[in-house]
Point group: D2
Chain length 135, copies 4
């Protein structure tokens, strides 16, 4: 929070990170439990290659929560792009995109998405013009 | 730091913020002291409108410091773009750009750059092909 | 979040800070609106002089929120102690206390609590043995 | 940084964490390399059980670095207390203590210090009256 009560721009990136962790570990883990061909999606590792973040309107400190929507806008063999909106019923505060790269953290080199990871991400894929986009 | 000793992507954005604050408040303040037509550059307020951040190589936790270079790549009447590199002598770890918008925090609306702010930013302007760019 | 999914100890201190800001600015501001002898409690400034934090049980990353309870355990002329618990229905994860000191940020010296600040804090005072304590 | 240029109290705790990580992983790892009876001190896991932090004087945002001194004030079979000072040549800004508990993160229960961990911590032990203390 700055002197005028705005939520700081770095804090918004932390909100995006919390949403991404929840998406890639909790939600993907639950999907894997239901269809366990790939028992631990993203556990082999995944890194952030790029962020783009547009701060559209100031968010003031308040008690009421905001929502982070998250979906998939690109899906390649060895990378994916996640899009997000930080918003409430009335206002979109932030739009952002993150390029994630599956990465074998033990062996220290990029890897391909597993079939289970790809199937999970496809369920959240939307690159339609109607989908909110950051550009 | 994650489990493999990498500096987290959000921490890099904090490094950029610390460099930007140092640039816009300490350095710009010293320049204003030397030529005091605009006694307090950026004190009327300035907000972040957009970040782009490319994570090029992992930075591992270590004792040795890294350097953040910062310069100006665009200069408009009511916005400016700052570019940065997080690096050491051997490696560039992160390239990024931030669009900043002068903003009257009391009156809650955008404002134009003051002559003093513009003169300060011009001293750090470089949009040459030789300058490092994030794309 | 560390490698095992625990919420990091620094993140807990941020949770306490968010609760304290909400308590001292939003709640105290609403109380002041209702009884406006002191129109802006804590706006003259207040600093943190000391934290004590006990991490009782690990909190794992999850979607479900936790609650931060906050109350007042000491009230002096020029300082107050806030106590907190981070918890859910089943478990207390963290107990903490913070000594806050009213501080005139413009003039850079400590100040006394205003009558409005004191009246607000008294409404949340509980130093009974039954009240949870960090020691 | 707050509106008056002070380094925020949570940021100080991050400084302490960075010093502690450097102490327990880099320095302890180097000591282990020199005398490799315990090849990876603290790698089995270690958690923070308690922090006490006294904010003695405000630290203003600046270019010059501050130093974090760190040493050991208590050493038990299954816990240790680290003390710190954040300071420069002229001023001590923060004094703090952290109780750390060796913890088997895989098996999720406390463990005893290994002989190599204890030998490393003993090298930094100082509970003399002359040593700076937070109380």
């Amino acid at each position: 929070m700055d002197a005028y009560g705005h939520v700081n721009n770095v804090v918004h990136l932390r909100y995006l990170e919390e949403a991404r962790i929840d998406f890639m570990f909790r939600l993907a883990g639950e999907a894997a439990d239901a269809s366990p061909t790939d028992p631990a999606p993203f556990k082999a590792g995944c890194v952030v290659a790029r962020h783009e973040i547009d701060y559209l309107r100031p968010l003031f400190h308040r008690y009421e929560p905001v929502t982070v929507d998250i979906w998939v806008t690109k899906l390649n063999a060895a990378s994916a792009t996640l899009a997000y909106e930080i918003k409430d019923a009335a206002t979109v505060y932030v739009r952002a995109e993150t390029v994630i790269v599956p990465y074998d953290l033990e062996k220290e080199h990029p890897r391909r998405l597993t079939p289970g990871e790809r199937a999970f991400l496809e369920d959240y894929f939307d690159d339609s013009a109607a989908a909110p986009r950051i550009r």
